[in-house]
Amino acid sequence: MRTFFAKTVAIGAISMLALTACGGGRDEESGSDAPAKGFAANSLIGVALPAKTSENWVLAGDLFTNGLKEAGFQSDVQYAGASTTVADQQAQITAMVTKGAKVIVIGATDAAQLSTQVAAAHAAGAKVIAYDRLITNTPDLDYYVAFDNFKVGQLQGQALLDGMKAKKPAGPYNIELFSGSPDDNNAGVFFNGAMDVLKPEIDKGNVVVASKQTDVKQTAIQGWKAEGAQARMDQLLTSTYGSKELDGVLSPNDTLARAIITSIKSAGKKVPVVTGQDSEVESIKSIMAGEQYMTINKDTRTLVKETINMVKALQAGNAPQVNDQKSYNNGSKVVDTFLLPPVAVTKANAAEAYANDPKLAPLTKS
């Protein structure tokens, strides 16, 4: 037995050495910090997007698939799963790195939980672009491209005031506030932008948040889920608006806006001024029907186009165009950012705003 043992160990060790000898070891050249001088025109570009919870992400995915193909790249566009979002996205990004993607565009599900994957991508020599949502706590993020979200909030706040004034010339106005998912970096930015406009009016007493829920923690809707917004609105109506009139609701996006309107309608109340964002089809219909008051046109087409332009620049070995190199600090560094301006849309300017959108334009002709 002893000798058998010794022999087998020896055989094991030898075979391992043999494999070591002919295996060749590590690929030393896959190190990262070689200066980027562009890459092949048909390289793989990875796009990792959140779960398909809103039309915009679905549209963005389609636009990326087609746009990258037209530009001559190979593309791998992935969505996170519905419930296991973060882990899915982590795995997808890792898979893209493995497949040798040269640029990875990430619409983060949780902006703070991707630093390991971004670091791995960076180490493998890929460039990482944060799309729409800023990825935090990582020095390895290269670019950020988004609409100016503070501006979005300001537009929403202003539209809310304008809309209420149009319906009822004099205040005080009763309003309620909603904000997006707390794990989305943008949600707070929207909210702060809106409060930038609303706060002075609230302080003057011209606008009243009747439920007194003005803290972002109270107004947040986890995961941007419509049912969350509907449930919160139901509760607000029961607790606060038994006799009071509700004049306006600040909603951060269209999905939540429609949920809020559903809640109000089922409570038998008059639909107040409700803001939105994203120009979703159902919301445009709602605006044209006079229910939802406004939405924000952050044309996904433009955003995707700009992102693809960045990829093209990187491919050619040039520095992509950016227009903000000081505002967006992700906790580890200030990220080079390209910001696009958003547009507020009401029934009045809808036809003009969507004139170039094949899906939305017909809806505005009524």
Binding site: Q78, A123, A124
Partner: protein, 431 residues
């Protein structure tokens, strides 16, 4: 009988429960090779293997605890929430109370133990079904996570991240490989050989047939080959990478718990309780203690899994742990455990978990979307268990049974083993 039969009987340990495992290992190898082919060799590339282990170590750790819970005849739906709850507390403890990270890990395990004691108390001492207790726990600790974290994401310090995304250091001469990984591989080879010898000696002492020597050697060759291949792969990743730390934690736990469940009285008691709790009780097994232990142990492992995920994600977030319970439970059932308890092995569950992991990874490398990945995983779970159920109902023993069927014909002519059972028990009557 034929050599094939020898192989079937002896290649993976010889006892009947291993037959199912053989089928699963077979499936795993087939899936790996399939994707290796479909992805042009990406599947078995170093960086992908490393990522595969990092991505799945926390689910596999959960599967270890879940196996024991399921064998004892319970279920734990709360693991994801417990993981998230422990994760957020540990992240907070480091961010706000400035606990050093090793202390924070200990703190996290203690939280797991406390939650486990709470759930174990209801299950074992009050007698509330585990399904209900852990369904309540799922809500309770998910809410706790949101309450404490205010649904925010809390980053964790660099040192802590080692348990989730860390690697072994580079030491020794430049061999073109990560030397510590190579050493681990060598140690594993030695251990495998030692165990094989040990088991041959044991069979010998039992006066039992240890199986032909060539089967032992073949088995050793296969296992050493696989280990050597894996070690070289893991050692030849990018400089600074190695077999991941989370993988090492996983392997250590698998070895520890396999030993516990197979070779100690405590482990035997878990199977006894799951197989027939009344019979176990009448054999002197302390039912409550066993039930309390498995529930508590599960929560400790869930807390560990939560910490590893947080470490890997570099932050604790409100979505942590969503749906993990289902992945862990699926791994256990694909790995051959019985819904009614009493049957299942740690290694089977790990293989079951790896089947799911490789499937997931391979499909992602192919660019298949999560929607279709989920559909495929659902079907695989259903088919794996259905095939097993079907085979049992046909009186054949599980997957391997059906694989071997074409080879049976020659054997059925001769009376098989169950002959003895039918032999009338009258031979001593005349005395």
């Amino acid at each position: 009988m034929s050599r094939f039969k020898d192989l079937q009987k002896n290649l993976f340990g010889g006892t009947t429960s291993n037959a199912r495992q053989f089928g699963m290992i077979f499936t795993l190898v087939a899936i790996v090779l399939l994707f290796q082919f479909l992805t042009d060799g990406l599947t078995l590339r170093s960086d992908n293997l490393i990522a595969l282990f990092q991505q799945n170590s926390y689910i596999l750790i959960l599967a270890i605890g879940m196996l024991m819970v399921i064998v004892a005849g319970h279920i734990d739906l709360s693991v994801g929430s417990v993981a998230a709850f422990a994760g957020i507390l540990v992240a907070k403890s480091m961010a706000e109370w400035d606990l050093p990270w090793p202390v924070a890990i200990l703190f996290g395990l203690l939280i797991g133990a406390a939650i486990g004691a709470w759930q174990g108390f209801w299950v074992a001492y009050i007698g509330v079904p585990a399904f209900i207790v852990t369904l309540a726990g799922m809500l309770l600790f998910r809410g706790g996570n949101q309450f404490i974290g205010n649904a925010n994401t809390i980053p964790v310090p660099e040192g802590f991240r080692v348990i989730g995304s860390g690697f072994l250091p580079e030491v020794g001469p430049n061999t073109g490989y990560n030397n510590l990984t190579l050493l681990l591989g060598l140690a594993a080879c030695v251990a495998v050989i030692w165990r094989e010898l040990q088991s041959r000696r044991t069979r010998h002492e039992m006066d039992a047939d240890a199986g032909p020597l060539w089967v032992s050697i073949l088995r050793l060759a296969v296992m050493v080959g696989v280990i050597a291949f894996a070690a070289l792969r893991f050692a030849s990743g990018r400089v600074g990478t190695s077999f991941p730390v989370s993988g090492i934690i996983l392997v250590a736990l698998v070895l520890l718990y396999s030993f516990y469940t197979r070779n100690t009285a405590g482990g035997r008691h878990i199977y006894a309780v799951g197989g027939n709790s009344r019979a176990a009780e009448l054999s002197g097994v302390k039912l409550r203690r066993v039930n309390f232990f498995v529930m508590m142990n599960m929560s400790v492992l869930a807390a560990l899994a939560g910490m590893i995920f947080v470490a890997r994600s570099a932050a604790s977030g409100p979505q942590d742990g969503n749906g993990w319970e289902l992945d862990a439970i699926a791994a256990v059932f694909i790995g051959g455990a019985a819904v009614s308890g009493g049957i299942g092995t740690i290694s089977g569950s790990i293989v079951g978990g790896l089947v799911m992991a490789v499937l997931n990874n391979g499909l992602q490398l192919q660019g298949v979307g999560t929607d279709r990945v989920q559909i495929i995983k659902g079907l695989v779970l259903l088919l794996a268990v259905a095939l097993d159920v079907y085979n049992k109902s046909q009186g054949r023993f599980s997957i391997i049974g059906s694989l071997m069927r074409p080879f049976r014909r020659e054997a059925s002519a001769a009376p098989a083993t169950s002959e003895a059972e039918r032999e009338p028990a009258t031979t001593t009557v005349s005395g």
